[in-house]
Amino acid sequence: MKAMRKKIKELFANGDVDVVLGYREDPASGEVKASVFKKDEMLEDMVFDERCVQNLVNYLPTLVARYSKVGIVLKGCDGRSLATQLVEHRINKNQIVALGVGCEGVKVGGKDADKCEDCPTSMSPVTDHEIGDKKQKKDPVFSKVEEIEKMSPAERWKFFAEYFERCERCYACRQICPSCYCEICVADQQEPKWIEPSAKLSANTMWHLIRAYHLAGRCADCGECERVCPQEIPMRLMNNALEKAVHELFGVRPGMDPEELPPLVVLSKEDPDTIMGGKHE
């Protein structure tokens, strides 16, 4: 923490950053929230611990439009998220000073966050400055996805339908997701109306499937969609099922390399071709 504050002070002093996006503990309520630090004076309220759940990358597009240099405190998962944004030209790396902080895992509702189970790296893959330990982890296990895969299609449908039924189409999942940034979301299109706006099973299913598929090969599993869902729909389960498929087919986890294009948008001769009976020798 000390090292982090020192580094940020230094950045402000050198004029390397206009603002820094980090976590602040509200002295009154004790809550930890995403905050924009404009100068180094407020830094005593800055924290970095297991309460820092929010993915700060979501705030970056607004900030880079306003400031020319933005510092950002990054957990490993948020760093992956940033990498996906850089690949998609959402954010210009020149405007960012990435402060990777070794993450020890975060807690949601007092318990270890589910997303930490398959976390591949404690340190952001994109950093200008690294503070703390860098721990890389083994291949993901996707244990919850495997449970789902064991179900019969009918059981699986029943499982998800119960959740989809509850969805109230508040689109909190969309608003919180850094990768959901279409100018006009398909869910909002009127002509033609691909997804009915009313909250009912068929339309909700359509929304959840399109949302998940649009994130295939892109979702860096920050888990924010699931965290903010008022109906506790297991959003990560869908994201992870696709992440697992991409990992098995291409050996890639999104966001681990800011230079690498998402595997689903590149044509490579090395790609497995299981549909057409394999690569020609």
Partner: protein, 652 residues
């Protein structure tokens, strides 16, 4: 107000035997969009098209749905019918009630209902179709022929004679290809070189042909009429402009240990060499893997002795991009390496050779000067066994396909052998003799009946080298039903025809299809045997599949005629069904540009943002970008969201 004419085709009995076409018409004619509905025996026939024209005139319909076969077949036919009545040709849509309905549905009632649904869907769709105007792009009237074998040479000559410029690209130092290596050709036994060399010289001297040897394709961009082909010329270390082809360099070069590819590796040559005496161009090339000057900075004899000062040791590969309107792929084949046949010695036995090696052994320009001596000890072989189908028709070891040419060249080999060694005895081990060409069967009979070659029907099981230097060939004679063996002085394996090693790489660069063996795939096996699925790219010769010389020449000429037909036009009509980007909806992620196969998407500034832009001339309308754009910022004309949506929601 859209008023749709619906025309349901019987296709003889193809559709009408299963689908109640009358019922289809009766059911649909009451749809609010429909202004006219009719059925007819053959909609694609002249009277069928006349029905459409008449309905446009008399019933003032302004949209047309034809329920018939696949649009792949007859959409252009019906588009023309609309155009002839002044209606935009993109206001027609086809419902495929043959391949997707009558042919695949058993129950007539179900088939009829399905047909009704399929046609109704197109009626809903066609209302949302917009008139589109064809796009015209200029045509580059220069062709490139990739591969300078006989098929490529013929194609280049024909295009050049048609008064169009052509680049003849060859990766080796000389044009001529496999045919240049052959001694005599079946079924006439005329000398291969004698008939080929004049064509090679003609190609070299033709004002419309630019031969580029030692060159390979590295990249292909663009589309029919406007390809951009990047060519890399390898470093040859000899200045072709200065070299006079005297050949003194290859005489004096002290490094004479380079395997001679032209002689199928039977002998060695110098590190600087003209590939063969009749090479075109007759310019030597230095092999940098062997040259002592390049490897160790020693020697340099060739540079000292060259009267033209043509040796350039610091040569480097050069890339150049050429613009062409059409591409002919004529990359030929290679002979399979028989090493996998360990039971035949797997290349361990010096006197078990391949067909091409035999060809070089009997050639007057070959390593023995045309005297048939076996490689191991130079003894004239008195007994020779020719083994057919080595690697062909043998799925377990190599290839399922028949190499097509081996039966004929083996018959030729037996005759050449008899002419070189009149008291020798030739044996042929064969499965079937396949000689379907003109005078081919007679040629094989001549080998058997006049030259006394013994044909043994059966596959060779094993070849074993004996103490006395002979090779015992274990085979069978299935016609008499017993195992036999022959003690031979030499064995010739008719090794399979295979695609070139880099055939698949080139196919991927060109965007053309290839089969499981690596041969290039034609657009239609019967009706489009020269075309590939990519417009403006044609095939010639054995790169498409095993072929003999006459067929390769035919296909070379055929490909040339396709190119000349293309070049008869000044502009290319391009389908207006291309994609466009709505810059206000584009987020600039450029994912579309990564999935575009045609390099048709670039980035541009739009206000403060960066957005994707599609180059209309390059877009082929494949729709990959449309599918990948999550924000739906891209629309493919003729496949708009409205059209697709109406089609989907009309499904019951």
């Amino acid at each position: 107000m859209a008023k749709v004419g619906v025309f349901v085709c019987h296709c003889g009995v193809n559709i009408a035997a299963k689908v109640d076409v009358k019922k289809v018409v009766d059911t649909l004619k009451d749809m609010p969009e429909v202004g006219f509905a009719e059925e007819y025996k053959f909609m694609c026939s002249s009277p069928g098209q006349e029905l459409i024209r008449k309905a446009i005139k008399d019933n003032s319909i302004n949209r047309v749905v034809v329920a018939a076969c696949s649009p792949r077949m007859h959409l252009p036919t019906f588009q023309k019918a609309l155009a002839s009545e002044g209606l935009n040709p993109y206001l027609v849509s086809m419902a495929n009630i043959r391949e997707q309905c009558s042919w695949v549905t058993d129950d007539p009632d179900e088939a009829t209902q399905k047909a009704i649904d399929l046609v109704a869907r197109q009626i809903k769709r066609v209302v949302h179709q917009d008139p589109l105007d064809d796009i015209y792009v200029p045509m580059t009237k220069t062709a490139i022929v990739i591969g300078g074998g006989i098929a490529g040479i013929q194609a280049a000559l024909d295009i050049a004679d048609g008064n169009r410029k052509v680049i003849l690209l060859e990766k080796s130092p000389s044009i001529g290809g496999r045919m240049a290596q052959l001694d005599e050709t079946f079924p006439t036994l005329d000398c291969s070189q004698c008939i080929l060399t004049p064509k090679m010289v003609e190609a070299a001297q033709h004002p419309n042909i630019e031969i580029r040897v030692n060159s390979e394709v590295k990249k292909v961009d663009g589309y029919v009429g406007n390809f951009e082909v990047t060519i890399e010329k390898k470093a040859t270390y000899v200045d072709a402009q200065k070299c006079i082809g005297c050949g003194i360099c290859q005489e004096k070069c002290p490094v004479k240990i380079v395997p001679d590819e032209f002689n199928a590796g039977l002998n060695t040559r110098a590190a600087i060499a003209i590939p063969f005496p009749q090479a075109v161009p007759a310019i030597p090339v230095i092999d940098p893997e062997y040259c002592r000057k390049i490897k160790e900075d020693k020697c340099g004899v060739c540079a000292k002795i060259c009267p033209a000062e043509a040796i350039v040791f610091d040569d480097a590969p050069k890339q150049e991009t050429v613009s062409v309107g059409a591409i002919i792929v004529a990359t030929g084949y290679k002979e399979m390496d028989p090493a996998v046949y360990t039971e035949y010695g797997g290349k361990k036995y010096p006197d078990v050779i391949t067909g091409m090696q035999f060809e070089r052994l009997v050639s007057s320009t070959g390593p023995t000067g045309g005297e048939l001596k076996r490689p191991s000890d130079g003894v004239i072989p008195k007994t020779v066994v020719f083994v057919q189908c080595v690697g062909s028709r043998d799925e377990s070891k190599a290839h399922a396909y028949c190499s097509g040419i081996c039966c004929m060249y083996t018959a030729k080999h037996t005759m050449l052998y008899k002419h070189h060694v009149p008291d020798g005895q030739g044996y042929v081990s064969y499965i079937d003799v396949r000689a379907p060409g003109k005078t081919y069967e007679e040629f094989v009979r001549r080998a058997i009946e006049e030259e006394g070659v013994r044909y043994l029907r059966g596959r060779v099981a094993k070849i074993r080298r004996l103490q006395n230097g002979k090779y015992r060939v274990y085979t069978e004679d299935t016609l008499v039903g017993r195992a036999v063996h022959v003690d031979a002085d030499m064995v010739v394996l008719a090794s399979a025809v295979e695609p070139q090693k880099d055939a698949v790489d080139l196919a991927q660069m060109l965007g053309i299809a290839y089969d499981a063996d690596g041969f290039y795939t034609e657009a239609h096996p019967k009706l489009k045997p020269i075309e590939t699925a990519s417009a403006g790219i044609f095939l010639a010769g054995a790169c498409q599949g095993p072929k003999d010389i006459p067929t390769s020449v035919q296909q070379g000429s055929a490909a040339a005629s396709k190119v000349l037909a293309l070049f008869a036009r000044d502009t290319m009509v391009k389908s207006p069904q291309i994609a466009t980007v709505d810059p206000t909806a584009c987020t600039g992620c450029l994912t579309c540009s990564y999935v575009c196969h045609y390099s048709a998407i670039e980035e541009k500034e739009f206000g403060k943002h960066r957005v994707a832009e599609i180059i209309p001339g390059k877009c082929q309308g494949c729709g990959a970008c449309v599918a990948t754009c999550k924000g739906k910022a891209i629309t493919l004309a003729g496949f708009s969201d409205d059209e697709i949506y109406e089609e989907i929601v009309s499904c019951k």
